[in-house]
Symmetry: C4
Subunit: 495 residues, 4 copies
């Protein structure tokens, strides 16, 4: 049946909360009914009402989103191509800040140079979303700075011709102890998106954790995976549990690729990322200030990309209820992301073997500012409950910029080290090639560092290869006895 | 009886210490006799002599000041409106640095942005008075920086859907653990003045302490209070005790609103606020240098707004004499502001129940530079005499810029956290709305922080939620035994 | 007898090491013979040869210098005033960087502002000499910064109406615990010179130590002293002991004014003050590079004013030989300046009562860079040999900029606090009035600080009023037993 | 036999990997066959193909290099001088950044000023090679900064007229405790090259260690040595051991000059010196990007001068195999350079007397970033295994800028202190004269420091003359028992 053709003149009339139409991929949709349930709030849609919103919509929604959220009758017909007047689109030019091609990736010598190129090339909104962190960005800066306060202790007169960076994660072999941490909306930064990252990872047999808020479907992302390449799926549990259950079922079906569920715990409510929120405010002024929307929640500071993504995310997860619920819906091992105290690492180990690993993370400094860097939590665990390292794997993320950072984390007991922004900036700088360059640099730097330490294998790295005294001074030194060794008995009742 | 009309030509002749007239609210006053007793010194009046001084006078004097200080016969008559030549008033333009309206308050995302707007919009003199602190501003900076040196310890996998920031202060319920600290001369910054702050506080059921040097009367300030809204009255005891006694009697009559007397102890003599003093010097040059005034005290550095306000303030207060005197003149509980050592906190607790709380404060860095921040004193008390927390309430102020700062103070044992400059800058940025935005931001940030720590109620916050080791290293560690535990016996004789 | 008149044309012919004439105060001198023994090296004189050198000579040589150093026959006659062609003197303009009068001293609110004005108004050479310190100026900066790392502990609810800054030094009453430390060449900075400083001190009954290298005679300096005003005389022992003995005899004759000899120990050889040396190099290039001088010592870096002054100073002083020699030539008590370790303070106390005080000093950072500030040495003594405070007086200098700095030093056990550069910058900013303003500010700040600490008398200040933990961490913690308590027996043999 | 003349037109045709000719010193060479074995990679030669490469080749290759690496038949003939068209050579001008002569060396007052002049005068490529250090240059900066954190403790009232900086190294007398550390490619910076450094050293009877990668032959360098002047030869063992053995034999023959072999251990693989690599990348773009070279190794980041020099260097050295091999090929004592932990210092001492000294060094921050400075390793040894100081000599290098730095290292137990970049910058600033000035300044500063400490002889310097507490806090404090005292037994099996 031929679809109905609708003129642009007609569409442009529907820009109010009472009747709101948008054009996506050539189709005209009536989204009036959907407005109140849009995760980002209705205002964001109203800004795009009455016109073609594909450019804004596409990079942040994976395929299938429309079908999942709109009733079939919401699709009113096709836009009549004859009636479209090409807008001058000055915005587009603004957004792409750099029109020349990227420099050759091999000319970029370190992750800072890659970030610099990405900053120039990415749309400002994408950059603001990736770059931003909460409040005064203290944790974000400290995540990196704390590595610089740790000194290395090179041993010499040791044959270092061989160097092997491979290790195993949850029993699966990877060639580098560096994984890509879950980070949302990769296509915001580059059309290669999460699939581009996956292809880059395949070159280094590196683990990738796919974000719950990826801009591509998991099926798309893992489509080109090579044999042995493994993935994890990040879960933000939704208030509407059935959505999460459906997603778990979908991941279970790809268990040859997805080897674990990564449950993120460090952001049950969104952090305050002002740089990101500023972007949102900038756009908001385009909507006539007279427009009132009934659904507008009381949001001090608006709500950037980050806050939109959190909409609908459950904040009522608990050890006692959520882990059994997960066990009902997946057999995949669970990796708990966002542990920031030795107490919670201690607790997580109690839930082995369902829980097989924790990721020490403060969400890249994006959740709670002045939360401790992973290095602190590693040292806390070493001090207060070192047995945890034997019971589960301990991964970390946050602040990694150099191979020496990777090695220091491994020396302190981390099994692997995640990069989030670094991967996205690699993507922004050069798509898949940029991510490859990022991993290539980190791998080479890691090897150089291991060799100069006189260490051949990842498993030989240990605390004797570093001097972390300057950092140890600042580690939490609370009532270890009360907090840890008697902890289990005291806390299990209230979990 | 029709008042006498006096021409501007006549008024302008009286500009000397021998005969000094000023016009206020259309009335002509002969203030010659009052000159020597003006708290700010006679020069300040002489600068305004012979002309209409209402613009300068009004924002820093509450109604009733004239009546209280001048004899009836000092009022000579009305200025003849026909004779007034409108001056070009370039000064007025200078003073208001920004003539555009303020930006929408909701576009300001944090307290720094509010301060930035206030700095642009407030008269320079007001800004200098609020912003200034003593000597090299080390304590002022440190007040804030010390919070940044404390790390948070987020606990995860805890249901954080609910969050309750309410608490009680001296038994009265407030909805946020944030109070407005006493700060003088609010109308300098915005015509809404202290009453505007009070109306903003009513929206959050927040406690406000009214400054002894408010630019409005206490009656005006609390006029619009809602049921349950509470206030404290700050007392600077005057050398002329009868003035203070009269004020206490006046406050006692409003005991439904005013729930305590806040006795300020940290500024028995004025600190050296050079920025404020510079302002005064700037104005002083307008007076012909030949003019000599007999009352001019020997003041190195002149004397800004701050020093003027201190004029007449008693510096001979003592535990032994002042507290009983207070008991004679009020039944309201006493809150002692300006405690900066554990020794004095220890002593204050000995005076319970008359003394019900202390405010750890270094006067916003405005009294003695390099005095310790409240965080230091909190940690000192925790270390040397923790029983104080059980005996009286311990409030703090100074350096609060973020909800995380609020939470850290609470974790260390503070019952509430005061904001001084922040409220005034809110007022300067947008009047009552600006103060509301300030409180709204702090409340939202406090909630986000509590949730991300996994804490539902204020009373559940504790030292286990922070890592203050970096700060603890620097806490006074004198002879604890001598100084504290044997202290009472030793010191009570010399109080 | 009428003096011979010599024409300028004749004088200008004598500009070589073989025949060198200069004009001073209208007299023509043949200084050829004196060239090799000039403390500053012959080059400095050769730069001035053949012309009137009074402007360069005068501010750095006290009266009597010519007579002391030249034979009578060196004076050849008077310059014939008819023959003098007034040079355009562009140099003079260059030197005085600021031709307007100084701002009113009372508008300067602190020592930094005074230094700023002095920097603008003083000749560059004078500024460079006063401002410079050795190597990388680390000690100079640290001298001040270390005070900022000490926190004050204000006690409240104490009657602070009275405040008395007076104390005694070596038994003599002074009104402030602040003295002017010996600093050379005051007339370089302002014609009021050392006598101007003395007159300023008389207003505050403050002690002044006169530099061995003063630009005025001791008689001139103390001429206007008021009853009770006291002075010390700084001694740099000369290689030619007879010169020093003559000077001691001269001081002994003024024992009503001069109450002690201050023997400087911290600069037996000159430090490397590069800023000062740069000045010298700048001037040196004016001498034709072909000129060779036989006396030129091997001086890497040239030699600024500082190095010139050290010429002839003895570097072979020892406890065992120098103190008895001093006893032979003066009955005045000895104050040893430049003590930088607890070991040397310990030794000095062994020489009481001849030695009555030490001045802990690193020569204002001008001798050895990274030498410890006086605060370190105070803390060292407190830790390793506190009995020293009972045996002799301990004074300090270096880094004082605020009254709070003064009070902190006193709390740590110092009996008085010296200012060197601050006095000279006061002089440079406004002559005697500038020094008065400097002392006035420091006194007022000291009083404010004492009051806010709740302390009435200097003698009541103690360690409980400060928190110096941050500094204590860094104090030398060597083998105290070995170094100190057994020290006397071990070292007395090798003194 | 008259050599064949080849025209420039003919030469210019050979610029491909298949046929590559270059002109050096007037001779035409076919280097096609040599391309794959060029340490710097074939691309570097291809950039110079078809033209006279003498300017590029000469300053980095000692005489004899061509003969050693090319077969006789590779030399095709002489370039026909008639056919040479002088290129405009704009590059040359670019390279020499400063065309004026250098300032007089005596006007440079410290090592920073010398470096500043060198930076202006040296070719950029040379500067980049000397200046660069690895990654984020943290170790390079820290090498110097750590000295500034150590305070000196001047003792006074001690006769300091005499000062003797001489000492012995491996039993040989030197006049200063400062040696020139091995640094490659001196002629890059100045034509005086390593021989110029040697002549400068002769003036101070200072030890020089000649780099394995010197730009002159050892015979040339030591040609002008004076009696008693001593040298060491740095060895980078080559994968082709016969080359190293030949070099050892050559050095053995000059045992009157060369007193030890300095085996460098801290750079078995090249560090990542990005500044240096950037230079290489800049040049690389001049080669048509279409050119493919089969030998190009997989080098992330290209490869600057530093990486080229490492080509062929063995990374399989071990205590057990390499030391005996050395013993077979030389009787000279061994100095091990690049020790960075007390464990390795401990091990080195076990190999006395073959090993006579170690040099604590992190390769000037050029190998592994965040490796510890020598000061840390000195303190580690003092703490964990002080007996090492009695068993072997401990030298240090890295970060020396001042005489006070030299003295501090000596106080901590170092027998001598090496300068690397400082010597090269001296060379760059003024050739041999610049190196002399560098040594003159360091010697004078060292003497001033010793005098002001009250110390006459190097051997009298000790820990009591410094306060290193601030640094000691950060020293590695691992399981000393495990790591050190039981170390020998545990490690000897796996050496």
């Amino acid at each position: 049946m031929a679809e109905k053709l609708i003129s642009a003149e007609e569409v442009v009339k529907h820009t109010t909360p009472e009747s709101c139409w948008v054009v996506l991929y050539g189709n005209v949709y009536d989204v009036t009914e959907f407005l109140p349930s849009h995760p980002g709030g209705s205002k964001i849609i109203l800004q795009l009402a009455g016109r073609d919103a594909t450019d804004e919509y596409d990079p942040i929604h994976p395929p299938g989103t429309l079908e999942e959220n709109l009733k079939p009758e919401a699709k009113l017909g096709r836009i009549d191509p004859q009636t479209i007047v090409q807008a001058s689109k000055p915005a587009a030019k603004e957004e792409k800040k750099d029109v020349e091609g990227p420099p050759p990736m091999e000319s970029l010598l370190n992750l800072n140079e890659i970030e610099e190129v990405a900053t120039k090339r990415m749309p400002e909104k994408a950059w603001a979303y990736y770059y931003s962190s909460s409040d005064d960005t203290i944790s974000k800066s400290f995540n990196n700075a704390v590595y610089k306060d740790i000194l290395l202790r090179p041993r010499v007169f040791i044959d270092c011709t061989k160097c092997d960076t491979s290790t195993t994660l949850l029993g699966h072999k990877v060639d580098i102890p560096i994984f890509v941490a879950p980070a949302a909306m990769a296509r915001l930064g580059h059309p290669d998106g999460e699939a581009g990252i996956a292809r880059a990872c395949s070159r280094f047999n590196a683990l990738q954790v796919i974000s719950n808020n990826a801009s591509m479907t998991p099926e798309q992302i893992v489509a080109d995976a090579i044999p042995g390449q493994i993935f994890g799926w990040q879960l933000y549990v939704q208030n509407d549990r059935s959505k999460s259950e459906a997603m778990l079922a979908r991941i279970n079906r790809m268990a040859d690729k997805f080897k674990f569920i990564c449950l993120t715990l460090d952001a049950p409510v969104p952090g305050k990322r002002e740089l990101d929120e500023k972007q949102s405010f900038k756009n908001a002024v385009k909507v006539a200030s007279g427009v009132k929307t009934s659904d507008e929640p009381n949001r001090p500071g608006g709500g950037g990309v980050g806050q939109q993504l959190f909409f609908g995310t459950a904040s009522d997860l608990t050890w006692k209820i959520t882990l059994p619920w997960l066990a009902k819906h997946t057999n995949l091992p669970i990796v708990l992301k966002g542990i920031q105290t030795h107490e919670d690492a201690f607790l997580a180990a109690k839930y082995a073997p369902q829980v097989k690993a924790v990721i020490l993370s403060n969400h890249g400094g994006r959740a709670l500012d002045t939360a401790p860097p992973a290095v602190h939590t590693l040292l806390e665990i070493r001090k207060h409950c070192p047995q945890v390292f034997d019971q589960i794997e301990v991964w970390v993320d946050g602040g990694i910029k150099r191979g020496t950072d990777v090695v220091k984390a491994l020396c302190l007991g981390a099994r692997a080290v995640g990069i989030g922004r670094a991967a996205l900036f690699g993507l922004g700088a050069g798509g898949q090639k940029g991510v490859e360059r990022t991993l290539e640099i980190l791998k080479a730097e890691t090897e150089t560092c291991m060799r100069l330490l006189g260490v051949e294998k990842v498993s030989d790295l240990g605390p004797r290869h570093i001097n972390s005294r300057k950092v140890e001074r600042d580690i939490f030194d609370g009532d270890a006895g009360l907090e840890t060794f008697g902890l289990w008995d005291k806390v299990k009742s209230r979990l």
